[in-house]
Symmetry: C2
Subunit: 372 residues, 2 copies
C-alpha cells in the first residue's frame, strides 16, 4: 500500500492541492437543477407515509429545498471514483509507479484504477470476485487491466491479492476508500460543486449543505475535509436494509461498526466505513449527521431521477435524494434550521454504472403503483 | 382546426419568427457530445452484422462521425412537442383562444397541448384512447386538462372528438403534426441546435447534417424548412417493423403511404406521414433521405444512450442514432460525401417520456448478450 504517513494532512488546502493534480485527468461534471424535484422535496409528506415511524401523528415537516445535483455519473468511468484513483496514482513517484498497481473491487474502483493506470502507461492488476457481472469484467479489461478472479469472502480475496502481489513484486496497492490520498481525491468533487452553484446563483449565495452517499466513506470523508471552515453542512446517506446503515448505527453507539453484511440494492454502499474515514465522519464538526432510508425509498428516488430528470444513476447514487424526500428527521432538521428561505442543498449523484437489465429487475414487481 | 391558410409560409424566416414567439415558453435544451459514441459510430460494422443485407460480402463503410445530441428529452413535458403546441396556440387570436382547445393524442402532444393551454389560462379538452397508460392520463390531467376517453380506431376517435366539439362550441382543434403552425414550431429546435454547435466549435464549423425521427412528420418537416438554403443536410429515421417505414417506402414508390399499422417499440413513430408534411419531406431539396432500422437496432442504440451516455430517452428518440450506427446505406453515404474529415452530425433526442417498467420490459429477454 502507498504509505499513508507520506500523504498530505486531511485539510481543505490538501483537497485544493489534490484538485490541481487531478483536474487534467477528469471531467468537470455538470450540475443540474429540477423545478419538479424542488416542488416534490418542498411538499410535506402525507400523514399516512409517517405511520409506523417515530413521527406518526405529528404534523409532517415543511422544509424548503433548492436542490442542486452534481453529475458524477457523467464522470470518467461513470463515477466519482476516478478522482481518488487518479490522485493516489499521481502521487506515487514515477519509479515506484512504473511497477504497476494492484487493487480489488467488483465495481467502480476497479475501472477507475484501470483507467488511471492506463493513462500513466503502467500495468493494473485487479482482483474481482468471480461472481462479478460479465459487463463489469469486460469494461475493466477493455481499459487494459489484467483481471484476476477470487472467491467472495475476505480470506479468499486476501489470498488472491497475495498471489498477485507475489507475482508482481513492487506493484503498489491502491485501496478503494480508506486512505488519505483517496479521501483527498474524492473530496475534489465538492470544490467544483461549490463554484458551480455560486456561478449559477450569480454570486447571490451558494451551497448551504451537501449530502452524499456513505459506503466505505472515502467520498463523505473527502467532502467533509474539503468543507471544513466553510460553514457548509455535510450530511451522509445510507441504506438501512439489513444493517447497511453502519455509519448511522456507529454514531449512535459511539463506536465504529466493523462488519456489515447487507444485500441492499445500493450495492456501492454495502461496505462498512473504513477506519481512517471513521475518524472524519464521527467528528460532528465535520459531518453533521448520517441518515438512512429503506429500499423502497431508494427505488422511489431512483424512479424520479430516471423518469422526471431523465438522468441515469445507479441505485447507490439515489440514496441522498431519498433522504431529502423521505427521511422525516432530516426534513425536520432542514425546516428548523433553514427556516422559510430554505436551503440550497447539493446532492451528489455519485455514479451511473448500471444496465437496462438491472433497472428492469429492480422495478419488475412494481407495476404502476404509487412510488412512496 | 386553426385555418392553415392564415399560417405563415413554410420558410426558414417563418421558423425564425416562430422561435421568437415560443422562446419565452420553452427550455433552451442542452446539447451533449460523447467520445464513446463517436468512437463506436466511427468504427466499421463487423462483416457478420452485414450478413443478410445488400452489403453482405462488401467491405463495411468507414465513416467518421462527430456527433452532437440535442436533448429535447429535457424539454418541457419531456419532448419537442411543446414547441409546436406553444406556437400553434400562441398564434390564435386571444378571443378565439379563450374558448379553449381540443386535441387527441395518447402521448406527448396531449401533454404539450395541456401545458400550453394552462399557460394561456384556457381550457384544454384532450381525447385519449382508453388503453392509454395510467401515468400518461394522470400527467395530462395534472396539467389541468379535461381528459375524454375513446376507443382506439379512427372512427371511434372521430366520434369522441365530435362529441367534445359539440359540447364546447368555438374550441379550436390543435392537430398533432400536420399543420403549418405545428411544423414551424417544431422546426425551432434546429435553430438552437445550429447555434449551440457553432458555439461549442468556437466558430470553427457547425452542423453538416441533422437526423431526426420521422413519424407524422411535423418535426422532420420543421427541421427541413428551417435548414433550407443553409447547406445543412437533413435526414429522417424510421422504424422498419411492420411497415413503420412508411416515409421511406413512400419515397421509393413516389407516393405517400396513407395507412400504417405497426406496433414498433418506437411508439411515437407509428403514424403515417401527414399530407402537408409529405410535401416537404418528399422534396429532395429539403430532405436528403429517409432510413429505417430494426427493433433490435433501436434497442441497441437505446441501450448505449442509457448505459453509456447516462441519459433517459424514449425508444422513438433512439431511432436516428440507430441509423447512424447500423444503417450501412447511410454510413456509406457519409463515408462517400464527408471523406476523411467526417461530418458533424446533429442527432435529435426527440423525447424522454418512458417509465422504468417500460425500460424493464423492453430489455427483459436480452440478458447480457451483445447488443448489435
Amino acid at each position: 500500500m502507498a504509505d499513508p504517513t507520506t500523504s498530505p494532512p486531511l485539510t481543505r488546502t490538501s483537497v485544493q492541492a489534490a484538485h490541481a493534480i487531478v483536474k487534467p485527468y477528469i471531467h468537470l461534471t455538470p450540475i443540474l437543477t429540477s423545478t419538479t424535484l424542488n416542488t416534490i422535496a418542498s411538499t410535506p409528506q402525507t400523514p399516512e407515509s409517517l405511520v409506523g415511524t417515530p413521527y406518526e401523528d405529528q404534523t409532517p415537516a415543511r422544509p424548503t429545498f433548492n436542490l442542486f445535483f452534481k453529475c458524477e455519473n457523467l464522470q470518467k468511468i461513470g463515477a466519482f471514483k476516478a478522482r481518488g484513483a487518479f490522485h493516489a496514482i499521481s502521487r506515487l513517484a514515477p519509479k515506484e509507479r512504473a511497477k504497476g498497481v494492484i487493487t480489488h473491487s467488483s465495481g467502480n474502483h476497479a475501472q477507475a484504477t484501470a483507467l488511471a493506470a492506463r493513462t500513466f502507461g503502467i500495468p493494473a492488476h485487479i482482483v474481482m470476485p468471480s461472481i462479478s457481472t460479465a459487463s463489469k469484467v469486460a469494461s475493466t479489461r477493455s481499459l487494459g487491466a489484467q483481471v484476476y478472479f477470487s472467491g467472495s469472502t475476505a480470506p479468499e480475496r486476501l489470498e488472491a491479492l497475495s498471489a498477485v502481489q507475489a507475482a508482481n513484486p513492487g506493484a503498489v496497492t491502491v485501496p478503494p476508500y480508506d486512505h488519505p490520498d483517496i479521501i483527498l481525491g474524492q473530496g475534489t468533487v465538492v470544490l467544483e460543486f461549490e463554484d458551480q452553484v455560486q456561478g449559477q446563483l450569480d454570486g447571490k449565495g451558494g451551497l448551504d449543505a451537501v449530502i452524499a452517499p456513505l459506503g466505505g466513506g472515502g467520498l463523505l470523508a473527502g467532502i467533509a475535509t474539503a468543507m471544513q471552515g466553510t460553514g457548509v453542512r455535510v450530511f451522509g446517506a445510507e441504506p438501512a436494509y439489513q444493517g447497511g446503515n453502519d455509519g448511522q448505527r456507529g454514531l449512535a453507539a459511539g463506536k465504529r461498526v466493523e462488519e456489515v453484511s447487507t444485500l441492499t440494492i445500493a450495492d456501492g454502499l454495502r461496505t462498512p466505513v473504513g477506519l481512517l474515514n471513521w475518524t472524519v465522519i464521527s467528528d460532528v464538526e465535520k459531518v453533521r449527521g448520517v441518515f438512512s432510508v429503506s429500499e423502497e425509498q431508494i427505488k422511489a428516488a431512483l424512479r424520479l431521477v430516471l423518469e422526471r430528470m431523465k438522468v441515469v444513476i445507479e441505485p447507490s447514487a439515489a440514496v441522498p435524494l431519498a433522504v431529502v424526500l423521505f427521511d422525516e428527521e432530516f426534513r425536520r432538521l432542514v425546516e428548523r434550521e433553514a427556516g422559510e428561505g430554505g436551503w440550497n442543498v447539493g446532492v451528489v449523484f455519485s455514479g451511473g454504472n448500471t444496465t437496462v437489465e438491472a433497472i428492469g429487475k429492480l422495478f419488475a414487481e412494481e407495476g404502476e403503483k404509487a412510488t412512496a
